[in-house]
């Protein structure tokens, strides 16, 4: 089943989307918002599933689906907790700034609490006050859970995953170092996040969803040029079950909790940092990694962070080349008070 929230009020208007993302039908006869569906998932999911089947067969009224009509599937959420499961990403970025990485990072997940009150629609501009903040995108995979009890174990946690999405975890790189130095975590350095137009149930992913990971490449484009296609199923040190269990160690998680993977990042087959697309590598799902590799090789970064007017696109396709979640496609714009 594929779900989307068309822009409407604060919480969107829930629709069921056809597998090929061309048509949609209103979920309203069952439930009007995605948060409402997650609040009572076991009751409504079978009925939404019936509608999805009828949509595929053309036996319910439907309308043309346009990704640019979408809000993030949860336009606002009660929790957005983002892991950093591709430890390679963390190791690389630290290496570039000469900071040591504790070995515990390979066994104890990193996770930060993100702001969840104002997500950006996936085709809307990213509006920010200052290019000097070092505007970057981060391509990630995320899952949405139902109610998760405190102390859940990583295996049982997998059964609480209801939906899968992709993410642009917009980051302000030049605010990160001073903010982390204060030791209270990210705040101003993580402005509003965007999620893919469509959220899908894990069964839609077939064999690509296994072991709590999504085994497909995440395609990132910067100003229309391929920038990365790292494999989300590779080098993911912590699977989503482990990330959920980490989040639920000392408190329960409420239905509609979003758990992110962190920036998808692969090592090179030779064990070193991945190579850029231009050199036949898999590239990167954020600019910071490109800059890190440039720094490690040449002593300084060459690729600038995003300027106003720059565009980023994130998308994931199935084995037949069809978009699964629709595309996040955003231009950075200056905020005017």
């Amino acid at each position: 089943m594929k779900l989307a929230s068309l822009k409407h009020g604060r919480d969107g208007r829930l629709v069921i989307v056809s597998r090929d993302l061309t048509r949609a039908t209103d979920a309203f006869p069952v439930v009007s918002t995605l948060q409402g569906a997650l609040d009572q998932w076991s009751q409504v999911a079978p009925r939404l599933g019936d509608l999805a089947e009828q949509l595929e067969h053309g036996s319910v009224p439907s309308f043309r689906f346009h990704e640019h009509d979408c809000a993030s599937p949860l336009p606002r959420a009660y929790q957005w907790a983002d892991g950093s499961a591709y430890v390679n990403h963390v190791a690389l970025v630290r290496q570039a700034r000469g900071a040591e990485m504790p070995s515990s990072f390979w066994t104890d997940p990193l996770m930060y609490q993100g702001g969840s009150d104002t997500f950006i629609p996936p085709r809307d501009p990213i509006v920010l006050p200052d290019e000097a903040h070092g505007i970057d995108f981060e391509g990630e995979v995320a899952v949405v859970t139902d109610d998760v009890p405190m102390g859940v174990d990583p295996v049982a946690a997998l059964d609480h995953i209801r939906l899968v999405m992709i993410v642009n975890d917009v980051s302000l790189r030049n605010l990160i170092a001073p903010e982390l130095a204060k030791s209270f975590g990210f705040f101003q350095s993580k402005p509003s996040t965007a999620f893919s137009p469509v959220a899908v149930t894990p069964d839609e992913l077939g064999d690509a969803w296994r072991g709590g990971k999504l085994h497909l490449p995440l395609h990132a484009y910067l100003n229309g040029e391929p920038f990365g296609r790292p494999e989300a199923g590779v080098d993911m040190t912590f699977d989503f079950g482990t990330l959920i269990a980490h989040a639920a160690k000392t408190r329960a998680l409420s239905a509609g909790t979003i758990i992110g993977s962190g920036t998808v990042s692969n090592r090179d087959p030779d064990g070193g940092p991945g190579r850029p697309i231009a050199e036949g590598g898999l590239g990167y799902a954020c600019i910071a990694e490109m800059r890190t590799v440039e720094t490690l090789r040449g002593g300084a970064p060459r690729t600038p962070f995003m300027r106003f007017g720059d565009a980023v696109r994130l998308e994931m396709k199935d084995e037949r080349g069809h978009s699964i979640f629709g595309a996040i496609d955003q231009i950075v714009r200056k905020h005017h008070a």
Copy 2:
């Protein structure tokens, strides 16, 4: 106007509470939940205010108000961002563990993104897995905002404050140091938070609400004994307008955002750390400060963190000794999976 959410479903049942906290009337004719009210505050607040006046005059049907029937005013919220505005608290705790505090902490607010999906009702137990985590309470003041634009200035930010509450920001002290060392901020060390039974509009606070601060003592009791009564209006380095502006620097804040003050903490009149209640001081709004003072004086803490069965009470009273927000009154219990 005083508002509360009686326990009911996921978002509670909004009621208007009399000034003396003895009676309540349903807000249902206007709006059914507090989040719903905040989503359209300018439309509904006047009508809720009318009901509040009628409640005071006995001209609407009402029922007895019991604080133990309450959920947190927002049982779940889209954002809980907690500042650390009483820099004295930070300085003290760091001093005890021999850690330096950057001087920027006096000019640039500390703030962390808290989990907002599962708040604890103010009279429900605090259920946690392990005493060894170092269970502590933190008495704070918090405000609830309406929609705040990105880049708001500290003065304009004050006009976005719709409600004021008190908070028990439950903390797991022994998880904080290792978690902050990972530099991604608090997560497991900050389990679910509890808010006072009643949230009040700033005008209810009269002259005690001025300059973006609440000028009243916050009373904390541990197992029935007075533990602290620090003045919330004193030693608050950053007022709520400054905290809101900090949160909104790179993104807009959505209606229902909760901004916390951090643990209320006063210096001694002689400039040193505050003295315990037993010595005629104002005491502390968390156990960690007591332990810090004990460490500074005697080389080691003597007061233990909370054990299962221990109770904490937080309350604030007006000049005539009447409870403003009702009391947070909670027992710590062991979580059984």
